[in-house]
């Protein structure tokens, strides 16, 4: 798959994201495995915390700026920054530069980091040239497009290409696969009724697809979909991060 020796293709900085850190460490370990399999040395800066997205989306620009500066300082030394989350990657890629429109020095630094920041599957396919996922998984899988990954980062083809490379996986498409799952960060707790109705539709499409597992690239959507499936009595359908799927067990 890759001819480079282990670690021979240089360093990538892994931005783990706070939700992965808190909820699902296996996503970060899977990401490391995938990046190493592609020939990169993975560095995980220890002081990293959050990209600032919750504050940014809540209208608290000041704190978003503080956290953005922190991320920029911690990650600007890497050739590539990889994030196993479309929305956190989108925060860095699209919104960091917007945060500093009135501050030329930081705007330039934000822009430089933004240009080198990738969502995980995007990096694996578009930069690392991976065509074969190293992991093993067996069963039918539906991929859910998370909004920021799809519309801010342009992630659509890449995860599908890697999933399709897995010999024992049959990929199925969800109806309305580009529609939001209803998570929306704080939206899901501020407007639970609306959020619940939207994720209910997503769950119905998942059931209709007959998939054994749903794979996706964002922890927020994952917790939302998994939480709703479990609440409505579905204890079977697996909800896994695309990194976990591709890296396999």
């Amino acid at each position: 798959m890759t001819s480079a020796p282990p670690g021979g293709r240089g360093e990538v900085g892994l931005f783990v994201t706070c939700l992965v850190d808190l909820m699902r460490p296996s996503v970060a370990f899977s990401s490391i495995r995938l990046l190493e399999a592609a020939g990169y040395t993975v560095v995980v800066p220890e002081a990293q915390t959050c990209c600032g997205q919750p504050g940014y989306n809540a209208g608290d620009t000041r704190s978003a700026r503080t956290l953005a500066r922190k991320v920029i300082r911690e990650f600007e030394r890497f050739d590539h920054v990889v994030v196993p989350s479309g929305s956190c990657a989108g925060m860095v890629r699209v919104h960091f530069p917007e945060l500093f429109v009135d501050d030329p020095a930081w705007h330039a630094r934000a822009g430089a980091l933004a240009a080198r920041t990738y969502e995980l599957t995007q990096f694996l396919v578009d930069i690392a040239g991976m065509t074969q996922a190293p992991g093993g998984f067996s069963g039918s899988v539906a991929y859910h497009d998370s909004c920021a990954g799809l519309r801010e980062m342009g992630v659509k083809r890449q995860p599908r290409l890697l999933i399709d490379s897995m010999p024992d996986v049959r990929r199925v498409e969800l109806r309305e696969c580009e529609e939001c799952c209803g998570f929306g960060g704080l939206f899901s707790v501020k407007y639970p009724d609306i959020s619940g109705a939207i994720v209910q539709r997503k769950c119905e499409h998942i059931h209709a697809s007959g998939a054994y597992a749903v794979a996706l690239g964002d922890l927020g959507c994952m917790m939302n979909i998994e939480g709703r499936l479990r609440r409505t009595g579905d204890g079977l359908t697996q909800v896994i991060h695309v990194a976990e799927l591709l890296a396999g067990e």
Binding site: M23, R24, P25, G55, G59, D60, C147, V189, I194
Partner: protein, 472 residues
């Protein structure tokens, strides 16, 4: 129209609990989005047309004062009278004055969202003038006790044919008809005499063309044509932001407006109306007026929200909005619904009167992607959230939580300690189960779904331990 957006949360609950509305929403969900997608192929290069349409609208807004003056000059030179109104109330007064001057008793109306903003029908009735809505959807709403529209181009998308059947039988006193074609015929027969007998026709305006001083009106039913052809007086009521430079620009925008709205390559009727009837003309109004309304628009020029004025009222944003598709248009509580309404309502009616609207969005950006004039709707909603924070309009609990999070996230040691404590707390709540059904700290979350249990340790702890293990 009186604003009810402050009651958003209650209105949402009512609508989610309304099985008939939910059935009606489900029936049409996704259909317009699919029609739009199918129609874009006819453009060869949608992105190029969209970029041009965006630039046309943006270029006018950059010099709106001068374009308006040019429009006014051309319109006046061709026999129209251009009037200006600060707000809806003033627009109503101007229109009533026009009606009195020309001895108008009845008015036929084609669709005008600005007339909904202004509450024109109520004002006309109070002045003893009978307004008749002639767009089929708007007519249905008017005879249903002046119900407000729930969508800017499909005003009765929230109704079923059975509801229309019952309404027509009750109001018209006719035999109930269940066939949609028969219902449409019945409305046609009711409205034909109104068109032929009206003294004044009132239209909105999709575009004001500066080149010729004309109003362009886009309809499918033909009611816009009848309203502007048969009566003696025509009043075009619209916002000051609707100017476009030339007829060629109109051609560009007409490639993208009907496709974005209904998936049509072109609407059945596009009328470019310029001045009054000429000598020898058999038809057309003898008097033509423009009433151009500010209503909060001028204050947006040059602000962060200027891109919102590019809006051409196609409705694509709501047709693609997961929230709109779930709660319907009435929940939004004012004239404009869906994402464009969530931005316009607070801007036109006061940020404090519509606090929920910019918050009640997942920022999924389907709206921004489909907008034919590239309005960054999620960014504008986020900016409105910023304004709420600046003005201290958010609840103290939310402010405290955001501040605490930002404080901790800026300090890795504090963050690490909080994360560790949170994981421990969540694991305790889960008690060995895979998910947590009730969580006091986030009742909103667990009212709708379980909270998946976290792993036993944070990634940073596991990773540090692994690294120590490798090192030793």
């Amino acid at each position: 129209m009186e604003i009810r957006s402050m009651h958003f949360v209650d209105r949402v609950r009512e609508r989610l609990d309304d099985p008939e509305l939910q059935r009606n929403l489900k029936r049409t969900r996704g259909r317009n989005a699919a029609a739009r997608a199918a129609s874009l192929g006819g453009l060869d290069d949608f992105d190029a047309v969209r970029a041009r349409a965006t630039e046309i609208r943006a270029s006018v807004l950059r010099d709106l004062d001068l374009w308006l003056e040019r429009f006014e000059r051309e319109a006046t030179a061709r026999g129209a009278t251009v009037l200006w109104a600060h707000d809806g109330d003033e627009a109503c007064r101007l229109i009533i004055d026009i009606a009195r001057r020309h001895d108008v008793r009845s008015v036929v109306k084609s669709k005008s969202m600005v007339s909904e903003e202004a509450g024109l029908n109520a004002a006309l009735e109070a002045a003893g003038i009978r307004p008749v809505e002639t767009d089929l959807g708007e007519y249905i709403l008017q005879i249903n006790d002046n119900e407000p529209p729930s969508h800017i181009i499909m005003p009765v998308i929230h109704k079923s044919r059975e509801q229309v059947t019952e309404l027509f039988a009750r109001v018209h006193g006719t035999e109930p008809k269940t066939d949609i074609e028969a219902l449409t015929r019945e409305a046609r027969e009711r409205l034909r005499p109104a068109f032929l007998g009206a003294d004044m026709g009132l239209s909105g305006g999709n575009f004001l063309v500066a080149e010729t001083g004309s109003v362009a009106i886009v309809t499918n039913e033909g009611n816009g044509r009848l309203c502007t052809t048969m009566p003696r007086v025509h009043v075009a009521l619209t916002g000051i932001e609707k100017v476009i430079p030339t007829l060629d620009d109109l051609a560009t925008l007409l490639r993208i407006l009907p496709r974005s709205a209904t998936g049509q390559a072109i609407s059945n009727y596009v009328s470019l109306l310029t001045g009054t009837k000429h000598d020898g003309d058999a038809d057309g109004p003898a008097h033509m007026y423009f009433v151009l309304v500010d209503g909060g628009r001028a204050d947006l020029v040059g602000s962060d929200f200027e891109p919102m004025l590019r809006c051409i009222r196609c409705g694509a944003c709501m047709n693609h909005c997961p929230v709109y598709q779930t709660v319907g248009g009435h929940a939004y509580g004012w004239v404009y619904t869906g994402p464009m309404g969530s931005v316009l309502t607070p801007l036109f009616q006061g940020i404090g009167n519509a606090r929920d609207l910019p918050q009640a969005a997942t920022l999924c950006n389907q709206c921004g992607v489909v907008c034919p004039v590239s309005i960054p709707l999620p960014d504008l909603m986020r900016k409105l959230r910023e304004k709420q924070v600046e003005r201290g309009m958010r609840p103290w609990t939310e402010r405290l939580a955001m501040r605490a999070w930002a404080w901790a996230a800026a300090r890795p040691w504090a963050y690490s300690a909080c994360a560790r404590a949170a994981v421990r707390y969540l694991c305790w709540l889960a008690g060995g189960r895979a998910s947590i059904p009730v969580m006091g700290l986030a009742p909103g979350w667990t009212s709708q779904r379980d909270f998946p249990a976290p792993a036993a340790r944070t990634f940073r702890d596991m990773y540090a331990r692994q690294r120590r293990g490798r090192a030793s």
